[in-house]
């Protein structure tokens, strides 16, 4: 929905860090985006490419690792991942007390600079 403002945030963070580390060009950036984060990878790639011109990230390639929604069941102690963007019950025992352990990530991991 607001992938454009997310892309703006990314460009600000990486440009600042690139310059601060003494480099002038970003070649690629690695992100981890959870499936339950509300961010659509395609839309984010599109928005990033549209606004990266005029910055040190003008030629940067965005690489997105999508993180599946995962949980840990406190009834049978299993760790599991699901296809959906949410967990309704533990796929192993059907229990309802679980904790979501991954899927909400919106992180910049690292980047290649020169």
């Amino acid at each position: 929905m607001h992938e454009l403002s997310i892309a703006q945030n990314i460009i600000e963070i990486i440009s600042e860090q690139c310059v601060r580390s003494g480099y002038s060009r970003i070649e690629s950036v690695n992100l981890r985006i959870g499936r339950a984060s509300g961010i659509m990878s395609d839309a984010l790639l599109f928005a990033f490419d549209a606004i990266k011109t005029e910055s040190v990230a003008a030629d940067a390639l965005l690489c997105i690792e999508e993180v599946p929604v995962s949980g840990r069941c406190s009834e049978c102690n299993s760790d599991f991942a699901v296809e959906e963007e949410y967990i309704l019950s533990c796929p192993h025992c059907g229990g309802n007390s679980f904790r979501m352990t991954a899927g909400r990530e919106m992180d910049i991991i690292d980047m290649e600079v020169s």
């Binding site: 929905m1 607001h2 403002s5 997310i6 945030n9 990314i10 600000e12 963070i13 990486i14 860090q17 690139c18 580390s21 480099y23 950036v29 992100l31 339950a36 984060s37 509300g38 959906e84 963007e85 949410y86 309704l88 019950s89 309802n96 919106m106 992180d107 910049i108 991991i109 690292d110 980047m111 290649e112 600079v113 020169s114």
Partner: protein
Amino acid sequence: MKVKVVTKILEANDRIALENRKLFDGAGIYVINLMSGPGAGKTSVLEKTLNLASGLKIGVIEGDIAGSDDAERIERCGAPVVQINTGGACHLDANMIYEVLSELPLRDLDLLFIENVGNLVCPAEFKVGENIKVMVLSIAEGHDKPLKYPLMFQESSALILNKIDLAPYLDVDMEKIRRDALSLNPKLKIFEVSCKTGVGLPEWIDWLKKQTLKR
């Protein structure tokens, strides 16, 4: 050359949200981020709340893509209000709130409502400095909404299920809304209300007063 970044993309927003929160705490106000899809009844809930919650001094920030209709409705209820126009953005962010705070008499208020832009997806992702999030879902939107838009249900402390006066005209399974919403968020407090008939609103007001005063 590889450079580690390891930063949350919304870190800047979260930092400003924390600043807002400090200002709110310092002024002794409880802040609620009110969210829903377009037209579910956020402004109607606020109008009713302003009329019924006597004893609470309430201010409102209205977030809309354009226009000042909602702020005018609040003004007619006699509450201090500021309108933010996001100019296309689909959600309010912490900085938009920070920039209008000086326009509100923060020290005179007990409670501040921030009515977010009508959108079921992203207002839930951007903290604005609130104590809690409350969402409104109108039953006319259908019973599939919790599973289609899980994030907002997971993030909210309370769900106001509005427009229940329309139930006789709709094929909507209210039990399913309850069941799915509670599976997503077992702690969710659910109020079934109608802003048209007033049913259910006293329970909401009671809870709201307790939330505001217990802090």
